[in-house]
């Protein structure tokens, strides 16, 4: 019974966490702010995000963003309109599609490979230490031990 309550509580916490994570994203998509869009878009002339650029084209893009927000466009729609004008390089973060997937997958693959290499090296080292700690020769059998003790006794 206790276990059942625990599982139910964990499921509830997980569901709440999921809602907490998804709800702001959905709200941001439907009602984006100029500040968040300006941090997610790049000035095509100076290659820095709009919020840090004071270039004339960046100022025009900011005006465009505010106009489209006032008109009720979603975040995706505003981004799509700017990509249509300036190309995908205005996106600060590459989209998760086609060739651009590489930008997302390569760092993960790099982390995976690095973890595998570190793990393999650690495993190799631990085996080496174990081998060094273990004696190379097999232990003596009881008969040999008895004879060795006898020999040693003779010297005492």
């Amino acid at each position: 019974m206790t276990r059942l309550v625990l599982v139910a509580a964990l499921a509830l916490v997980a569901a709440l966490a999921l809602v907490a994570a998804v709800a702001p994203a959905a709200a941001s998509e439907q009602r984006p702010t100029a500040a968040e869009l300006e941090s997610e878009l790049v000035c095509p002339v100076c290659d820095s995000t709009l919020d840090t650029s004071n270039a004339e084209i960046a100022r025009r893009m900011k005006t465009f963003i505010r106009t489209r927000i006032a008109a009720g466009d979603t975040k995706s729609e505003i981004k799509a309109k700017l990509v249509d004008q300036f190309g995908p390089r205005v996106l600060a973060v590459p989209p998760r599609k086609g060739f651009d997937w590489l930008a997302w997958l390569l760092p993960l693959a790099g982390i995976g490979v690095a973890a595998a290499v570190v793990g393999a090296i650690a495993w190799s080292w631990s085996r080496g230490h174990a081998a060094a700690a273990a004696p190379d020769e097999p232990p003596l059998d009881p008969e040999q031990e008895r004879r060795l003790d006898d020999e040693l006794d003779r010297f005492e």
Partner: protein
């Protein structure tokens, strides 16, 4: 096992280095950014990078190759560019002077809102053809660091001269066009 692991790691490391080296060689050999600017700096005319871009106004596309047989004044500009506002009336006057004399003016509006660019050409009464390159794909191919910049191309399609920044006056424009016509 340890030896094989070490060998695998070494092969992987060498592979990564070779791949990065290959990428660098490819970029140097194939990447042609600034090729036009570099060649002109050495006094060598160079074939102008080909393009097919949509007209800023109206429909259809302009193909660079279709301009062969005429000297071309290729002007990179944007509506947000301050010096372009000073230069455009001078270019329009030049176009009126040279029109029908085996010379064609072409404006490439780059990294710009199409609507702003259309308003710009309306405002300045520009009548020579303009194409739209919002992504700025030709900016890198021609090695344009800033707007405006104007290239002068002979009848065979080779870039013979460039003016970085706004064209100063009629005399500078006419002299550059004469260079392009003289080479043909």
């Amino acid at each position: 096992m340890s030896g094989r692991l070490r060998l695998g790691g070494q092969v992987l490391a060498v592979g990564v280095v070779v791949a990065l080296l290959g990428l660098l060689i490819w970029k140097v050999a194939v990447g042609n950014d600034n090729a036009v600017t570099k060649s002109l700096a050495q006094g060598k005319p160079i074939r102008g990078p080909e393009f097919t871009l949509p007209y800023l106004r109206g429909t259809g596309e302009l193909e660079f190759a279709s301009l062969r047989g005429k000297a071309v004044v290729l002007n990179f500009w944007a509506s947000w560019c301050g010096p372009c506002k000073d230069e455009t009336p001078l270019l329009q006057k030049g176009w009126q002077r040279w029109q029908g004399k085996d010379v064609v003016f072409v404006g490439i509006d780059a990294k710009d809102f199409r609507g702003d660019a259309r308003a710009f050409v309306e405002r300045f009464g520009v009548t020579y053809p303009n194409v739209y390159d919002g992504k700025g794909s030709m900016v890198g191919r021609y090695g344009v660091p800033a707007f405006p910049e104007t290239f002068f191309i002979d009848r065979s399609g080779k870039v013979v001269y460039r003016i970085a920044g706004p064209v100063a006056d009629d005399a500078e424009l006419d002299e550059a066009i004469a260079r392009a016509l003289a080479r043909s």
